[in-house]
Symmetry: C2
DNA sequence: AGTAATTATTCATCTAGTGAATCATGCAGT
DNA sequence: ACTGCATGATTCACTAGATGAATAATTACT
């Protein structure tokens, strides 16, 4: 228990900055006409074309019924296609359309621009140090480096929220100081 | 634009770890029978007894109608009292009951335990460095050190699936690497 | 063939949150 | 004192996101 008199705020700062980063990202996706959740789906399909809805649900840490709604929306927007697998006609193979691929490219650009915005004000050394510390923390906590299912199992009534869940929750963590 | 070839993942890591920290905190509050949002309300009332619902809404970055529901719940649970102000009979003065104060103390203990859990695996120097970097980032972004209203204005449809909103969104940010 | 498991889908439900409308009260100007 | 406007709290209808149970189509097992 490393307590050196420092106020207990790392948890608070992480959730605050994480929510802030999520907001910035949501701004970007909104400009592309999709939600952050849908952006995640596009990312995964782009990396694994032909993935099934069941596999996608598992990767997202979500459930199949939720994936149905997400894909319904993306298919309607012309970004994703469903095609029945010839090997197993129960499964729907998911792929990006040309528009979907374009959105994915735009998302990558947006993520890089956001990264620059986030570390703006830090020196390159500081940004590198921060990256190292966050990476270590992430691996220490056993979080997946590729997909952050983050907080799906713990909060049954969730979340939300993004940060449901923690939105207003923010203030609570601050409670350690006063 | 400090880009030194490092993968663009700080944004992703922040949101991932922030969501994780929020989940840990939600676990704690669940054990106390309240949600993270309600914990935030209790924190604020504990620090500012007699605060009005309007002031509370502003501090939370929420709206009055939302506060009504939150206080309804906390009053019903016997943690908070509403009393009409004698100076201005429109305003409801909010205060913690004895049980409410007990919950606030429990929340403080939980936050400290969580802080220890979060930095577990880092050396004290690393924890201090991380705290410094996160604090700098937070002030650079103009985030309030006391209350994180964090991501309320940007995502109109939100927010939530913190949590929401960024839950599944997680994966998207990772999109910078592949 | 017949039974069980699997994939996708629908549906009813829940929660959190928002904005508009309403009510009671306070306050400023006349 | 009277009028009219502003303010705090509340109610209500509505939305978005998420969840779990039930169902249909298909495949796997034996």
């Amino acid at each position: 228990m490393p307590d050196q008199g420092r106020p207990a705020r790392i948890g608070f700062l992480l959730s605050q900055l994480g929510a802030h980063a999520a907001e910035l990202f949501a701004d970007q996706t909104r400009g592309l006409g999709i939600t952050p959740s849908e952006a995640g789906v596009i990312r995964i399909i782009g990396r694994s074309p032909g993935i099934s809805q069941r596999e996608l649900a598992q990767t997202l840490g979500s459930v199949q019924s939720r994936v149905v709604a997400l894909i319904d929306r993306l298919e309607g927007a012309g970004l994703v296609t469903r095609t029945r697998s010839s090997a197993d006609r129960r499964v729907q193979e998911l792929r990006l359309t040309e528009s979907g691929s374009a959105v994915l490219r735009a998302l990558r650009h947006a993520a890089e621009a956001q990264e620059a915005a986030i570390v703006d004000g830090l020196t390159p050394d500081q940004a590198t140090a921060l990256f190292g510390l966050l990476s270590k923390l992430s691996s220490l906590r056993g979080l997946d480096a590729e997909v952050h299912i983050g907080y799906r199992e713990a909060a049954s009534p969730v979340k939300s929220t993004v940060p449901t869940s923690y939105h207003d929750a923010a203030s609570p963590l601050k409670s350690t100081a006063p």
